[in-house]
Symmetry: none
Subunit: 193 residues, 4 copies
Amino acid sequence: MTPPNAARRSERAHRAILEAAYALAVDRGAAKVTIEAIAARAGVGKQTIYRWWPSKGALLLDVLIDAVGAVSEMPDTGDVTADLKAQMTAVTRLFQSDFARFYTGLIAEAQGDEAVARGLAEQLLDRADGPRRARLAKAQRDGELRADVDVAAAAEALYAPIYYRLLLRTAPLGVDQVHALLDVVLDGLRPRE
Amino acid sequence: MTPPNAARRSERAHRAILEAAYALAVDRGAAKVTIEAIAARAGVGKQTIYRWWPSKGALLLDVLIDAVGAVSEMPDTGDVTADLKAQMTAVTRLFQSDFARFYTGLIAEAQGDEAVARGLAEQLLDRADGPRRARLAKAQRDGELRADVDVAAAAEALYAPIYYRLLLRTAPLGVDQVHALLDVVLDGLRPRE
Amino acid sequence: MTPPNAARRSERAHRAILEAAYALAVDRGAAKVTIEAIAARAGVGKQTIYRWWPSKGALLLDVLIDAVGAVSEMPDTGDVTADLKAQMTAVTRLFQSDFARFYTGLIAEAQGDEAVARGLAEQLLDRADGPRRARLAKAQRDGELRADVDVAAAAEALYAPIYYRLLLRTAPLGVDQVHALLDVVLDGLRPRE
Amino acid sequence: MTPPNAARRSERAHRAILEAAYALAVDRGAAKVTIEAIAARAGVGKQTIYRWWPSKGALLLDVLIDAVGAVSEMPDTGDVTADLKAQMTAVTRLFQSDFARFYTGLIAEAQGDEAVARGLAEQLLDRADGPRRARLAKAQRDGELRADVDVAAAAEALYAPIYYRLLLRTAPLGVDQVHALLDVVLDGLRPRE
DNA sequence: CGGTAAGCGAGACGGTACGTCCCGTCTTCCT
DNA sequence: AGGAAGACGGGACGTACCGTCTCGCTTACCG
């Protein structure tokens, strides 16, 4: 009925839940995590979880955002290709770690839970996409890219294939993919003399 | 223990299962389909499903493959851009239909079931990818694209963004995305004079 | 893993289960009662049954004990023959009622479930046997029976034939059997002058 | 629809079924025997069992009758007490063997299957009871027992307690029980001088 | 500053679905 | 036609979790 009073929330329980959820999601995949297991591992009543999160997906989303954060940073050395290579490689590395099954599991969860889908798009993906587009726009101003290029589309063409392999597993992730993408996409966007 | 004898399989039951699974997956999403519901709707014992498929995902994969099939066709009018535009638009249309929740649900399933992931990659995605690469390679021979272009990477750069939006929902699917991708990716791959 | 906390047991559910089990066992026989049917009739989750009873037999045993109870009472008018006749007749009447199929069904259950067998013997049969032996012993002290008579064996010789007919159905149960037993067994145990 | 033609029955299959059923019933108890297990062990199709027996109980009853047979024999040395002691001891021994769980299991089966109950009573128990009553009647004619004794009731008082312990397990079976019964029942039936 | 209402741990509850075991029937192919 | 084999529709099993609920217990705020 009435929403819980956030001021009286137990910080101890909150942290224990996030940590338990993280640990379980990383080592058995998000799909196989259960609220009961999280509660048990955190030493917490189930109700305490249901009080603060509407669903398993929402909780895991919080945990993920908490855990990723910094990957959206975008270097700026004046050389777009180098900067993108660095950032795309960092993303690839993350997706090669144990962490990947957590991420993919949460994306799976999002397919059946609109709230998670929205949270994921807005709080994680859009947030990471901003700096990428900004970097490409700056490259445009610097004359590294043609002025008529649609930077949003370019960012998608560069990053989507990494997610594609992460989720669809048609080929392994790796730096070679990053190189190939830069060659195929970014090269074609340079000014023609 | 012993594998079932495929020769004695009931064609009636087989078809009823595939149809029931299809109907349920389309209208409530793959994640919310249960084996019990499929069995009930098909008028079949649960064991008959378990006898022939190892998991819900494996069954849904069969259904999906059965249902998609033709989308991998690739036109060839001599104009790559037009051909890709047509095919990418067809894919986009499919992903805009009710059918999408089935597809995304199955991809979700694949995140926690290696066998489904493999089946999906090999029997659906790779199969669709072949003709795309072939069409790009022909364009290369025809001089429509530069000779040094990595066609596999190009195909990924064109199609992955469609899947990206399908699964991550950062932006709606649509023909405008197709146009933007062709501009950003394919245009850059033309021979430079 | 951990045993349930009996203090928090729902009295409502407990009673509903016992009543449902009783009703089902009486009207379709213990063998044809299923845990699912009990749960459904009681408006209870199956787990609630499994939480408190290890098996169908254990539950039915509780129900039976609950339902019988008073049959172990033994009158004492000073005339052993009359007292035994009264009590044996009461047992016979019980075994002629609808209740019989419940009892026989549970004894059947006991043949394949050691725990039920033990419970039945200790909580029902031994409990009923005590007063019978005590009454016979008193008759001995009163000089109604010879001093060297083995009262336990006598009690068995009197009551076992009733169970024999109940379970093996070689002949119908009835008061005439009671009379015959008293004539054949008890008469022979009187002091010889 | 039409009953099977007994003349064309396969003797090999028939015997294999009886043997398999026997072996399984002895070593896991009649309740845990399944038609599928019998068929598998006998190397026989399930239908072959269903063709010739209406139920598991009916099959097991056939097996049991086949296996017991001789226990109904009653010696006659001229001394009833000695003869009964010998025969009751033989029955007790049988009930102490591995064979007991088969027997008790079948009696359990009979509680829910009228046909089995009838078969058991008529083909096994009554058949065994006849000679016992006959022996007691002869003892009466010989002056070993009083003339007014109801021999049927006496036979029941002597044998029922053995079944009682077999089925209800209030006390272990043993020769001491036999002695006690003879003392308590038979002794009282002798002529009084 | 003592009472009381909130959050908390624990876990029982009514349910749904799981994947398995057998039932008794049926179909096919073989002898 | 009987038999070996085993797929079929079905019912129940015992288990895992779901999300809700009810218990004390502890803790912080408020009259």
